[in-house]
């Protein structure tokens, strides 16, 4: 399934930068960065549980926000892209570099 993860990390205190970096790192391990703080992640339920768990450990409940959008299995027809950015479909594109 496809999960869209987006986050907003507060920079109010000095530890904000660190949290942002760590959250981004976790997201990179599971998906593809499509915009600065938006990730598209193709995961199975087991991977999702682990992923979610790690994100919830890194963020600060008081200051940051995390949003998850569940796009399901047939997500391809629910997504449109315009403008810059090279994005691949991890399930169907032939990954040739």
């Amino acid at each position: 399934m496809m999960v869209l993860v987006s986050y907003d990390v507060s920079f109010e205190d000095p530890s904000g930068k660190k949290r942002l970096r760590r959250i981004a790192k976790v997201c990179e391990n599971f998906g593809q960065r499509v915009q600065y703080s938006v990730f598209e992640c193709v995961v199975d339920p087991v991977q999702w549980t682990a992923f979610r768990d790690r994100l919830l450990k890194e963020y600060d409940e008081e200051k940051d926000s995390l949003r998850f959008y569940f796009m399901g299995k047939n997500w391809q027809r629910r997504v449109e892209h315009h403008g810059v950015g090279e994005i691949y479909d991890p399930e169907n594109d032939a990954l040739i570099l």
């Binding site: 169907n92 990954l95 570099l97």
Partner: protein
């Protein structure tokens, strides 16, 4: 149920692959980077001068990703795997079965039966679809010979007989394979199978697709914990993945050969994409190779109904299912090995 994952093909010369967190990162020669999370991949195939960091190789081995190295032209060089995994009892049983002439003959018979049936189905399909454009009589003749082989394989045969029938079937099939190429002209004429090196465009395409098929089947075999080197029809020879070649037999005609045919017949590859070296060996250029890789990935995603399990699966998963059926047969849970029949 296992999901069909993507394979990463790296053809850019001078690129460097390394691990960052859970990702495979590719640094191309111009300095740009691309990253792919490991869990969306089931293999990495590197062509030519591509360097992988040892930590990436270790990580891939641990996660069960097959990493293969091929020359830029697609000749197989090496693959990397981690510590031998799987079930040693299963492998021991595989060696016992491979050592035993009689059970090798039984398995070889199933494998050859699968190959013959699928080759015949390819010829029949062509005859049905393009009756006016092909030499129907020659194809009919070949189908007749293959029918004969299939008939002989209905009763037990010795290992040598099985191998003889395999050879006869292959010769007959490749004898008329040129008929299936509807795009006539000198660029894609086919007179017979040549390899190491391939001497014409069609053979060049065939060899390349067979290498891709071998990579996928080998990793499927390793994933179920069998030894890809100990085959039944293909006897032991150092460095030869006998069992992978065995399981390949049933897939060659309807998967690999038909892919090559549709690439040619639909004009997705052109004569200009090939060059002949002084030695007579034929090579394809980068664009042609990419076209083949794209088509191969697409074909693997096509859905079929598995003839034995009666389930809808993607073609690429069929390799894994066949490897698993082979393991079940070796373990004794199945009475015979059920090859993949294409209808």
């Amino acid at each position: 149920m296992k999901k069909l994952l993507n394979t990463l093909y790296v053809t850019s010369q001078g690129s460097y692959l390394f691990k960052d967190g859970e990702c495979v990162v590719i640094r191309l020669e111009d300095g740009s980077k691309k990253r792919f999370p490991v869990h969306v991949l089931d293999g990495v195939v590197c062509f030519g001068n591509v360097i992988c960091s040892p930590f990436l190789l270790g990580h891939c081995a641990e996660k069960g990703l097959a990493v293969s190295f091929l020359t830029e032209r697609g000749r197989y060089l090496a693959s990397v795997h981690g510590p031998q995994g799987g079930n040693v009892l299963l492998r021991r049983e595989q060696y016992r079965k491979a050592d035993d002439e009689e059970s090798s003959a039984t398995t070889a018979r199933s494998i050859v039966a699968g190959k013959v049936a699928n080759s015949r189905a390819v010829l029949r399909r062509c005859l049905r679809d393009y009756a006016e454009r092909v030499d129907a009589q020659r194809l009919q003749g070949a189908i007749g010979v293959l029918d004969g082989c299939a008939h002989r394989l209905k009763t037990p045969v010795s290992l040598d007989e099985a191998r003889g029938l395999e050879g006869l079937a292959a010769n007959t099939y490749f004898g008329v394979f040129g008929e299936l190429i509807l795009k006539k002209g000198p660029g894609f004429s086919f007179t017979g199978r040549t390899r190491r090196p391939p001497l014409d465009n069609v053979n060049c395409l065939l060899s390349f697709v067979y290498t891709l098929l071998a990579h996928d089947i080998r990793s499927a075999i390793e994933a179920v914990g069998l030894d890809p080197q100990a085959g039944f029809l293909h006897r032991d020879r150092p460095g030869r993945p006998g069992l992978a070649l065995d399981i390949m037999e049933e897939f060659r005609s309807f998967l690999a050969d038909r892919l090559v045919l549709s690439l040619i017949n639909r004009g997705e590859v052109g004569e200009k994409g090939f060059t002949v070296k002084e030695s007579g060996a034929v090579f394809m250029d980068e664009d042609t190779r990419k076209a083949v890789l794209v088509a191969w990935q697409k074909r693997k995603a096509d859905e079929v109904v598995h003839p034995f399990l009666k389930e809808r699966i993607s073609m690429g998963l069929a390799f894994h299912l066949q490897a698993r059926l082979m393991a079940r047969y070796i373990r004794g849970d199945l009475e015979g090995y059920p090859p993949f029949f294409w209808k």
